[in-house]
């Protein structure tokens, strides 16, 4: 993991997902995460985290802004409606967390699948760099055992 690019990637996913959601369908964040996974620097699990945290951040922050001042009263009602079919009481804040996690998971999966699909592409700048690192490590190991 590279802390700086990791953070930048999360923020970019959050911002672009938010910005494009106004004009494009609700699932546009999945495309953004997938592309980000394809081109980004992170390895498997961290790639998942960029999508998960980035989308979760977008969801959590934006929804919180939308419900500020209304103190979750409308979200509570929607929670009541969604919960009634399952005989459960879902609070507005719970709904916010569930939404953030659900959307975050989707984002994470898409980012991760992007990274995995890009991993064997020799033409991919990022993959080949990581490949170099790996072979370096191997050499070191070999030296130790020689």
């Amino acid at each position: 993991m590279k802390p700086v690019t990791f953070a930048i990637q999360i923020i970019l996913i959050a911002l672009i997902s938010w910005g494009l959601s106004y004009i494009l369908p609700w699932w546009i964040f999945t495309v953004i995460c997938f592309i980000s996974g394809l081109i980004a620097y992170q390895s498997g699990f961290f790639s998942f985290l960029t999508g998960f945290i980035g989308v979760g951040l977008y969801y959590f922050t934006y929804s919180s802004i939308l419900t500020r001042g209304d103190n979750f009263s409308f979200a509570n009602k929607i929670g009541e409606i969604l919960g009634s079919s399952m005989n459960a009481q879902i609070g507005g804040f719970t709904l916010l967390c569930v939404g953030a996690v659900l959307f975050g998971l989707l984002g994470g999966f898409f980012a991760w699948s992007g990274t995995l699909i890009a991993s064997k592409e020799p033409s991919n700048r990022l993959r080949s760099r990581r490949g170099r690192n790996k072979s370096k490590g191997l050499k070191l190991d070999l030296k130790r055992y020689q």
Partner: protein, 803 residues
Amino acid sequence: MTKRLFGIILLIISIALTVLLGINIGSTPSIGKLLSPSHGFWSNIDLHPIASEQIEIDGPNGKATIIYDENHIPHIFADNEEDLYYAQGYVMAKDRLWQMEFISYAASGRLTEIVGVKALALDRYHRRIGLKKAAEESLPILLADPVIEKTVTSFTKGINQFISEAKRGKLPIEYKLLGYKPQEWKPINSALLLKYMANDLTGTDNDIEYTNAMNLLGRDIFDILYPDYPSQPDPIIPLETAFNFEALPAPSVPSKAVDSTAPLAFYKNPIQSFLPQRGLGSNNWAVSGTKTASGKPILCNDPHLGLTFPSIWYEMQLSAPGLNVYGVTLPGAPGIIIGYNEHIAWGVTNAGMDVRDWYTVERKPGDDTKYKAQGEWKEFEEIQETYIVKGGKNVTETIKWTAVGPVVYDKDFSERKDKQDLTMSWLALKGTNDLMAFHKLNRAKNHQEYLEALNAYWCPAQNFVYADIHNNIAIKEHGKFWIRYPEQGKFLQKLTEADLSQIENYFIPNNQTPYVLNPARGFVSSANQIPVGKNYPYYVLGFDYENFRNRRINEFLAQSSDITVDDMKKLQYDNVSIHAREALPLMLPYIAKRKSSDIYEKLAKWNFVTDYESQAASYFYKWWEYFENIAWDELKNTDNASFIFPQEYTAIDIIKNHPAFPLFDIKGTQKTETLQDVLLISFDSTVAWFNQHPDQKEFRFYKNTSIKHMSQLEAFSERYIKIGGYAHIVNATSSRWGASVRFIIDFKDGQVQGYGMYPGGQSGNPGSKAYNSFVEAWAEGKYYRHQFFKNLDEAKNSLNSTL
């Protein structure tokens, strides 16, 4: 390689998950879309405070300016009527789109397209009573009138402008929860809405129930239970009023007219569960300057309708050259339905005259396509109806029509074993241009123009109350009414004996419907009671005449002088139960041996005021409910037949005058019960019930006044509202009904000043503050002052002063 394969598999799974979240599954909407911050429910949260603001929109010809006042009531100003109605359609849709469209789905029997198979029975009912066909027949009539055509077309364009914006931006939450999108608005939707209201207000009759009761009990008992005329009449037109016109002759009684003693089969009314409840109604009155403190008239109106979210009314001001009108309208209808302009004010209550008759149909033996009428075999008109069922298979059925109307039930829509076809003749099913009446009322300047406006009106017949700046008051029960022979329409009739031309066009002429101008008593009023005394030359048949509220209103107005707006507020909020005041003193002596009971004591001390905290009110109404159910046990619906209980005021008459009435005997017991037995048993049941339900002693919890969201979503509804009143009380707030708006129009100083309140809010969005902003004040009987601006400048000044 394996990594990449894993990546592709993960991608496929992720896409599958997204698709799964993105589609509607059965009645579950797209969860992904619903939860999305930008597309889902979060974006329906409207944090705008309810405050004055100004917007401008581009109409077909030019700009329309809309000033929202501090109650979110729009005041629309335009240079011409096309822009005006365009803007009206636009702002109405902006606040109420889902409601408007939902009603048109309901009226045309298409709810299955939105909610699936659970709405099929209701949809079939709505199509079988012919609402869709009636709207389809009204449409060309509306559009053939150039004035109405222009109005409806501009209004439609405005709604569609908003729909296209909403589709790009924010749809009302109900679309997201039910998983569908608004369709293009069509003029027929407005026609459907009007027919839907006609059904709400005239879709009741007792033909089948009365026929069953007559067959079961015989003429003598029947006449005591269901008199045409109440024993203490206080009609809309004062009893002393003379009718100085030459009446048309009543039709002759057919040779084999309904012989109600003939052994007709017992008819069960399979649509009873869909019928509007009894006890709904409305009040209106106007007081002349001779009785007011200001010397000028005051007009009041509070129509009682189902309490729903979004509210049934939308309030607004419409202003263009030659027109300046303020009031409420039904979302989906152009113009103003109840309101006032600078010259006159008008209000409506429902006329209780029966305008729906049922006929038994004789089919040609061996030929199902023909029926007998007017002595010959005629061919049924057959209409194929298809119901598109969301998440299910389409359903198709054929509905047959006779010359008088639809065969509402036959072998395909009946629970009866012998499958008797019944066809229905109903004045609401005519193609009509009722909008023209409101169009003219909006512009009327004097009482002549008010009368002229009403000539265009057909159904649902209303009591149009009137007052003007020239100090006139008037009331007219108007709409189309059949001229009938005595008791025609009270029972099932035989289509073979019907006079088709009478049904088609033998009506009370427009200038002979019940009417009074400036009566000597100084006020006019109506509360759904019988319209006239026995001196009216036509036979009058009601389906549910009130006889308590009207007497309370009239006793209040007769006793009052120097009346002010505050007095009128008190009367609209009056919780005195005449029902209890007349029944209790008759009932209590029979149960004197229960004197020591706490409930007896509270009832004996009660002042008959049904405040929401009252316990006595709960005790009385529960006791009455048990009393009715035990006394009229013979009249409970069975699997084979439907019945109706007599009116409460008739029951009081029977307690008073017929203590040995045979129906007091309880069916299936050895003993012959008396009135006293019935009252004791019902009282003891009441005591036992409240022992089991101590939390429902307070009247508010007993009656549970609730305002329900039209989709029945509890989360968008309100329960246990703190308001008194009940059925047959001026403040007629029962469990699901109440004053749908309260209006008071004061002509003090020759100006027009309105006051109002309604149980809801201007916005239909449950995420907006304006969704229910009026509810609390409505329950407390408070009012806001209408802002009726003379012109745009005055409106702008007012806006600036509040900013």
